[in-house]
């Protein structure tokens, strides 16, 4: 399993994580999916729909955001292939809460933002049986 992403898009994701710090930021990854690898070609960011107090450790993209992302993907002739979000001052591993809410098949790109600086991103996919996340390689081109 592999997620290919350009340096430009990854830097954009990191910049969003830094701008939103200490709150979480989230958005969709659009692109093309193959059997094992996928290529991100575009990102879409939406406002975190959580109440103010919980934005430091939670994000929410509404069904309307999902619909907009699917329409945009259709317009561009690609698919919604995953979600990116930041973990401010927290490791970039999926949490129990991430797992409970995760969709299968999607790539979940998580960026650790420490003291306002995006440090590293890792990408994960939920296993078919929903019991665990498996890490996928990020290939930056």
């Amino acid at each position: 399993m592999k997620l290919e992403i350009t340096k430009y898009l990854l830097e954009k994701i990191h910049a969003h994580g830094e701008e939103s710090y200490p709150e979480e930021v989230a958005g969709f990854l659009l692109g093309r999916a193959g059997a094992t690898s996928r290529l991100a070609t575009e990102i879409l960011t939406f406002a975190n729909a959580r109440e103010d107090a919980s934005r430091r450790n939670r994000y929410l993209l509404t069904p309307q955001d999902m619909l907009r992302a699917e329409s945009k993907a259709e317009e561009l002739g690609v698919d919604v292939i995953g979600v990116f979000h930041s973990h401010p001052d927290h490791p970039n591993r999926p949490s129990e809460f991430d797992m409970e809410w995760a969709m299968p098949w999607f790539s979940y790109l998580i960026t650790c933002v420490e003291e306002g600086r995006a440090v590293e991103s890792r990408s994960w996919r939920l296993g078919d049986d929903r019991s665990m996340f498996e890490e996928e390689e990020i290939q930056v081109s």
Binding site: L60, P63, M66, S95, W101, W105
Partner: protein, 92 residues
């Protein structure tokens, strides 16, 4: 028969299909038929206790069925029911 529209991440569990014709006079019956046709979808739509997972939203036209009659909302033959996930997460 009503039609169910499947979001991208669940399509691999429905033979890659975007829209599926289902039998049923209510949302609950339509979901029952969907998971009978595609049993792999069940664990992603329902918890082990059989409840719809929190991220699963069902829209009839522009309306969330939670604001209609929930899973007992009646369906007509030409209705399109969309499964639209909320995407959520966080660090602890």
């Amino acid at each position: 028969m009503p039609t169910l529209r499947i979001p991208t991440p669940l399509r691999p569990y429905a033979d890659g299909q975007t829209e599926i014709s289902v039998q049923g006079k209510t949302v609950a019956e339509a979901l029952g038929d969907l998971t009978t046709q595609f049993p792999e979808l069940k664990k992603h739509l329902f918890s082990e206790a059989g409840e719809l997972r929190a991220f699963v939203n069902l829209f009839l036209g522009e309306e969330d069925v939670r604001h209609l009659q929930g899973i007992e909302t009646p369906l007509k033959d030409d209705d399109m029911l969309r499964i639209i996930p909320s995407i959520a997460g966080g660090n602890h």
